[in-house]
């Protein structure tokens, strides 16, 4: 076994995570290697410092309300989606009716009608283009999905 391999075992040795055979190997090596003995001592010190600490516990209410808060957030998102879809349908219908009345109105000049229709067509194409770009970005976002 290479020296570097023994060194890696030092960490598992201190953490009590070695199998019997590995533990015997490292114990035999430690008896004759001052370099590893020194490193073991330093690792032990560092481990002692870290193991003397624990994360600060949040108040108990955090755990009591944890699930409720997730449930509310999930529910709120569904209501937002439904509200947005409803609003979009109403807007679309209203817009359609407005354009229909505008075109059917004989008092408005033909040139004005054509101008407004061309403007609307431009806005629709712009909207579709932006939407397509957003969908492309969304599909290529590396954090969007879990990959393993």
């Amino acid at each position: 076994m290479k020296h570097e391999e023994y060194k890696k075992l030092l960490v598992g040795y201190l953490d009590g995570e070695l199998k019997n055979k590995e533990r015997e190997l490292i114990e035999n090596h430690l008896r004759k290697c001052p370099e590893c003995q020194k490193e073991l001592k330093e690792f032990k010190k560092l481990r002692g410092v870290m193991m003397s600490m624990k994360y600060q516990k949040p108040p108990d209410e955090v755990w009591e309300n944890y699930w409720k808060s997730i449930y509310n957030r999930l529910e709120r998102r569904i209501s937002w989606i439904l509200t947005s879809v409803g609003a979009a349908i109403l807007l679309f219908y209203g817009g359609f009716k407005l354009v229909e009345d505008f075109i059917k109105n004989p008092e408005i000049a033909l040139l004005l009608k054509i101008g407004i229709l061309v403007l609307l067509a431009g806005l629709v194409i712009l909207f579709i283009s932006i939407l397509r770009e957003r969908i492309f970005i969304f599909k290529h976002d590396k954090y969007r999905e879990v990959k393993r």
């Binding site: 598992g12 953490d15 995570e17 879990v146």
Partner: protein
């Protein structure tokens, strides 16, 4: 827990949506502390860990039932935390407290209040400076006391890799903490 988790998930996918509460309650503490280790801030850790549960719930139909839920969920949570840390350069305050005085004294000798505060701050800064793969493994092992086997399952790598990553992380950390450890 793997099989048990997946049985619950199967129930959720079949329409028993409220069963998700079981999963959330099972993993909420671990998720919160993992996020706390990345952000160092209570509110952000709470928000990110809950967001991870919401994201997991909405992607549950994509979850492969032959895999481990805890590992899949850990990846979601970690990605959310890393995204957050990338956008917010502030690393927060050391989120831990000294709970074992004798262990600390054995390693560093007696310390005054100001020295202890400084030591906590420096340790947090040095750990936050480690590359992500090393930082996560140090936090999981020494601040959440998770076994090598469990860590290997969570981050999806062999036991040997866990041990060697811990070795390199601790080696770097002890170099960067020379001033404190060799006083």
């Amino acid at each position: 827990m793997k099989d048990d988790d997946n049985l619950v998930i199967e129930k959720i996918l079949k329409g028993k949506k409220n069963a998700y509460e079981i999963i959330v309650k099972r993993y909420m503490k671990r998720a919160y502390f993992i996020a706390l280790g990345f952000t160092g801030n209570h509110n952000d850790a709470l928000d990110l860990s809950q967001e991870a549960f919401i994201k997991a719930y909405r992607s549950l139909h994509k979850f492969d039932l032959s895999m481990s839920f805890s590992s899949w969920f850990y990846t979601i949570l970690k990605n959310l935390c890393l995204n957050f840390v990338k956008k917010n350069k502030e690393i927060g305050k050391a989120p831990w407290e000294i709970v074992d005085e004798s262990k600390l004294k054995e390693s560093l000798g007696p310390l005054g209040e100001a020295q202890r505060r400084e030591m906590k701050k420096i340790l947090w800064e040095r750990i936050s400076e480690l590359p992500v793969k090393e930082r996560e493994i140090i936090l999981l092992r020494y601040f959440q006391q998770i076994s090598y086997k469990e860590i290997s399952k969570l981050i999806g790598c062999p036991l040997g890799t866990v041990m060697s990553r811990l070795y390199y992380a601790k080696k770097k950390l002890k170099e960067n903490l020379k001033d404190i450890l060799h006083k």
